[in-house]
Amino acid sequence: MPVFWLVLIVGAMALIGYGLGRARALKSAGGDSRVLHSLPSFYGANVALSALVPALGLVLVWLIAQPLVINASISGDIPQSAIPESSTLSLVMSDVRRVADGLDLAVSQGVLSADAAKTLSADGTIRDTLGAVGVALGSDVTPEILSAAQTYRTMNAAGSWMLTALVLALAFGGFVFAMSRTKAEFRARNVVESGIRVLLVAAASIAILTTLGIVLSLIFNTIEFFKLYPASEFFTSLTWAPSFGGGSELGILPLLWGTLYISIIALLVAVPIGLFAAIYLSEYASPAVRGVAKPLIEILAGIPTIVYGLFALLTVGPLLLQVFGDEGLGWMQAGTAVMTAGLVMGVMLIPFVSSLSDDIINAVPQAMRDGSYGLGATKSETIRQVILPAALPGIVGAILLAASRAIGETMIVVLGAGAAARLSMNPFDAMTTVTAKIVSQLTGDADFASPEALVAFALGMTLFVITLGLNIFALYIVRKYREQYE
């Protein structure tokens, strides 16, 4: 049974359980809800949760575990001889999965009957049959792959049946168990409380585990890359010259320099403008002005970065070229440059800085302002000497967050800064950043086992470490000032 239906059935069971549990509790109290230990809805919720949570938990675990188990068991069965010279086990496995999925598809479209799919023999017709349902295979199917694919299909089908049976049994069991406990003196409220706690813990763990998974995959692939390419080269080489034929030079420094340079220009634009805008909005603007201006600024934050990228490429670049290009000052060769990307990225970050700072400034208690005005201070004195110091930790945090975004930004750089990895001080030169290069290393026909593709993970890891460092630094600053001020 498809998982969707399974979940739906369990959900319906929970819904019915809610009504029945409630009714039963009321009945056991003779219709007088004051006799019950908890409100009737808690008894209903208890039944619903008992049916729902364990069953859905099982679905989740099963969906993650099943492919792992089946893959492991089948790849153990594939003989070494079935792996062609230039291929690997994982490539063969992906062929197996494709064949199996293709067969499933063929059966569901009626091209093959279920029995025929089981008894196919490995002749040349399979490739055509599967091609007809839209699954293109690179080569003919060998008997080993076919038999592995058949095993894969049977195991999958069995797993799916097992899942359905177990989940329904579990949901029903939970339902019956909770119903049997539904009596007037049963402490449903406490049980529901701990049930909700379990749900929340589960949600938090999923968030944490996914992050952990991403970080681990980054780390393993980075290690893989450093096996193929020396780390010392990666971190110290001043040239970035990947070539897919081999003999690439993959030094991160030019990319890091580009990232830093563009981010610094972006922050130089965004921080003063954003901060001043926030100060104006929170301290000077009348409610009417504020009501119009704040949403307007926040609209900037809703513009997709690709649009900013277009803006950089088509408007800002040519504009800068007119002034600083060959016809003007002669510093700029082309529209794509660090300056172009930096300016546009700065504009993108303005609402980010201003709306965060605005919130932070507004959080400074009115009593602080009153105290300062009461001593005869002017508005700007109050802002400079009382409000900004009090809001400083938060503002620094906002700026560091903006910096993280600038460092991670991709689209504006791809379109606005050019693609040349270069170490130069001239802000009107084209340069490129770490993120832009991650994109270009992974797009196209990359062989994911080559250093030229794996370098993307090392780049990503480096970016991750930098952003993490920035965030930790932001936290440190906030803590430090907090101690001093509160």
Binding site: P287, P365, Q366, A367, M368, R369, D370, G371, S372, Y373, G374, L375, G376, A377, T378, E381, Q385, V386, P389, A390, Q484, Y485, E486
Partner: protein, 265 residues
């Protein structure tokens, strides 16, 4: 110490420092102060008393235009400081507040060091010639605020780290440091123990020699001890205003009498 209102002050010829006529205050649609006339004399302590929510703080805040910072608040009528209308367009509220200082109902030290808190006003108004001068001003203010002994060893510590009562005295010191001509104090002793209260009252008495002081208080005894004039507010009206001794011994209005004897409020 808590004896009956007496301490007959020799009230000699005093000039009027602040005179308010027909003052009305609205918070949006709420009419918080209704047609109040008061004369605050120079070198005098004037006490505002009255039940909670009757508008004492609101009226106090009119006197240095702190109500300007509240969007919904409108003030009508005439308030004159030394004969000049403070709500006149030409008057700079910033200048006014330097002359009419304020201690707020809730202590609100800045998130700065104790020293910087007190030095804030003098620095803004350029009252100190040099660092030594500033040090002296700060020390004097802290002594007058009756907090010097507690903080003299930790002037660099944050003002927000003090206890509630210490913060209140720090705020008093901060207000005194700018040498205002009028000091408005909104329940300055609400968070203080009897000893600190006595010290603050001593300060008020001392300030009276050169300034005029307006104090809001919920303590009848305090009003009787420190003030020469008392104003009784009730539901936004100024019910009675006169010599402290007379208000406490021989009130004219029955509401005043009920309040000071503890029957309303």
């Amino acid at each position: 110490m808590y004896d009956a209102p007496n301490r007959e002050m020799k009230v000699d010829q005093k000039t009027t420092k602040i005179s308010a006529r027909g003052v009305q205050v609205y918070y949006g649609d709420t009419h918080a102060i209704k047609d109040v006339d008061v004369d605050i004399e120079d070198r005098t302590v004037t006490a505002f008393i009255g039940p909670s929510g009757c508008g004492k703080s609101t009226f106090l805040r009119c006197l240095n235009r702190m109500n300007d910072t509240i969007d919904v608040c409108r003030v009508k009528g005439e308030i004159k400081l030394d004969g000049e209308d403070i709500y006149d367009k030409r008057v700079d509220p910033v200048q006014l507040r330097a002359k009419v200082g304020m201690v707020f109902q809730k202590p609100n030290p800045f998130p700065k060091s104790i020293y910087d808190n007190v030095a804030y006003g003098p620095r803004i108004h350029g009252l100190a010639r040099d660092k030594a001068d500033l040090d002296e001003i700060v020390e004097r203010a802290l002594r007058r605020g009756a907090i010097w002994n507690e903080v003299k060893d930790r002037l660099d510590a944050p003002g927000t780290g003090l206890s509630g009562g210490q913060q209140q005295r720090l705020c008093i010191a901060r207000a005194v440091a700018t040498e205002p001509e009028v000091l408005l104090m909104d329940e300055p002793c609400s968070a203080l123990d009897p000893i600190a209260t006595a010290q603050v009252e001593e300060l008020i008495d001392e300030l009276r020699e050169s300034y005029s002081v307006v104090i809001v208080t919920h303590s009848m005894q305090q009003a009787a001890r420190v003030s020469q004039k008392t104003a009784f507010f009730h539901l936004g009206n100024l019910v009675e205003f006169g010599e402290t001794g007379q208000i406490f011994t021989n009130p004219q209005d029955s509401r005043t009498e009920s309040y000071i004897t503890g029957r309303i409020g």
